[in-house]
């Protein structure tokens, strides 16, 4: 199907974009890479009155190191992250996971900010940001706010982002040499949304474990983290997953999701 009609704007500044998004008569939506929004519009699941194309906002693009944080602009494309030496050096977990996010042609346009704003429960990025203890900066006409990733993803396609706000930046702590990371997902076809997946980070003996595609949102497994922090083994950590609010989707039911969570965690920990 084709998208319903809309008006199209390509503002030249974030301030102009926010003004368009804040105009209630327009019923406007931001367009980033379009790799999720365009399919939704073609299916008429989304019918914004005005599309506010963010592609001219160079101020939202780029990857830079700022002391012990890596700052990534919301409009930075996956392909730029894949090719970035800074990402490989400062956030090895991202480098491990990026090849699993969609297909090359989708990565050529899809953006990190689009994935964060969308909060698809099957997407890798929200879980990666939970495991990495990242921060998400959003901007509204009245100012700028920063959310911890742990407070940002609230439910299925639901985030702390308010109407008319834009995600502008993702800040990720730079990894220390002794940090260890692991990533594992099960997908029917490489690049498809996973049936279950997990990202693990270990820093100074402390673990962060975040799952995706097992519930209505990306989730930390704090019970399993505590088991590992206390020196427990893989089996014990897997047993601790039973506390998570598993939810089925088109791929698999709740029981299968729970089973697969144990599988992906086991494989990720073996590789840690």
């Amino acid at each position: 199907m084709k998208a319903a009609d809309f008006r199209y704007e390509r503002p030249a500044s974030v301030a102009d974009a926010l003004a368009l998004l804040g105009d209630e008569d327009r019923d406007a939506a931001p367009l980033a890479g379009g790799q999720s929004l365009m399919p939704m519009m073609n299916f008429r699941l989304a019918q914004p009155g005005t599309l506010v194309d963010l592609s001219a906002l160079d101020e939202l693009r780029g990857i830079k190191r700022d002391g012990e944080v890596l700052r990534i602009g919301a409009m930075t494309r996956y392909v730029e992250l894949v090719r970035s030496d800074l990402v490989a050096e400062c956030v090895p977990l991202l480098a491990l996971a990026l090849p699993h996010i969609a297909h090359a042609a989708v990565r050529n346009r899809g953006t990190i900010g689009g994935s964060v704003a969308l909060a698809d429960p099957a997407a890798e990025m929200p879980a990666l940001l939970l495991a990495l203890d990242a921060e998400i900066t959003v901007q509204s006409p009245t100012g700028t706010k920063t959310h911890a990733a742990t407070d940002f993803f609230l439910g299925m396609y639901d985030t702390a982002l308010e109407e008319g706000e834009l995600v502008t930046e993702i800040a990720i702590p730079v990894a220390a040499e002794t940090d260890r990371f692991s990533f594992y997902e099960l997908a029917r076809r490489h690049g498809d949304y996973a049936m279950a997946g997990v990202a693990v980070a270990r820093r100074d003996g402390s673990h962060r474990i975040a799952f995706f595609s097992i519930s209505d949102r990306a989730l930390r497994a704090t019970g399993a983290e505590a088991v590992l922090d206390a020196g427990g083994g893989v089996q014990e950590a897997v047993a601790a997953l039973s506390e998570l609010p598993f939810a089925g989707d088109l791929n698999a039911g709740e029981a299968t999701k729970q089973h697969l969570s144990g599988v992906v965690l086991t494989r990720a920990l073996e590789a840690l």
């Binding site: 084709k2 998208a3 009609d5 199209y8 365009m38 042609a105 989708v106 346009r109």
Partner: protein
């Protein structure tokens, strides 16, 4: 009436100006307005890869980009790969890497990106790179054979 916008694009080396409905996607503009029907349209939601074409040096889904977003861009479609894809075309023919041909324009685009980026003749890596392109006929084996051949031929 749909909103329209004036764009100027360079397609396969030729610059064209046009007024496009803003809701029109890029692949429909190329097919219906410019008559370049080489790029195919399957799913219109980014999954099948039949519409994959090159915009400013990157292979993208023609169904997930609006024509208005291509204003000022350099676009290359299967009609325009020319010498760049000569070896791939020959290998596709030699290996029977197409049957109905529906997936072929997108498959060529993705394969070309892989080869030009210096991809290795590694079957798993090739399959990974082509994972976003469905083929309902060949079973992929012959397509991977063709891409391997091109890479091995170039390094020989």
């Amino acid at each position: 009436m749909s909103d329209t916008a004036n764009i100027s694009v360079t397609v396969n080396g030729e610059t064209t100006a046009a007024a496009v409905p803003v809701r029109q996607n890029l692949v429909d503009f190329l097919r219906n307005t410019l008559g370049l029907t080489g790029s195919h349209v399957g799913c219109e939601h980014g999954v099948c890869g039949a519409c994959t074409l090159e915009v400013d040096g990157a292979m993208v889904r023609g169904c997930l980009m609006l024509a208005v977003q291509a204003d000022g861009a350099q676009i290359t479609t299967v009609e325009g790969y020319g010498d760049r894809a000569e070896a791939l075309r020959a290998a596709f023919v030699e290996h029977n890497a197409l049957q109905c041909g529906y997936c072929t324009p997108g498959m060529m685009a993705s394969a070309l990106e892989y080869v030009e980026a210096g991809g290795q003749a590694d079957r798993a890596a090739i399959r990974e790179h082509l994972s976003g392109n469905y083929c309902r006929c060949t079973g992929y084996q012959s397509i991977v054979d063709a891409v391997c051949d091109v890479i091995e031929g170039e390094s020989a």
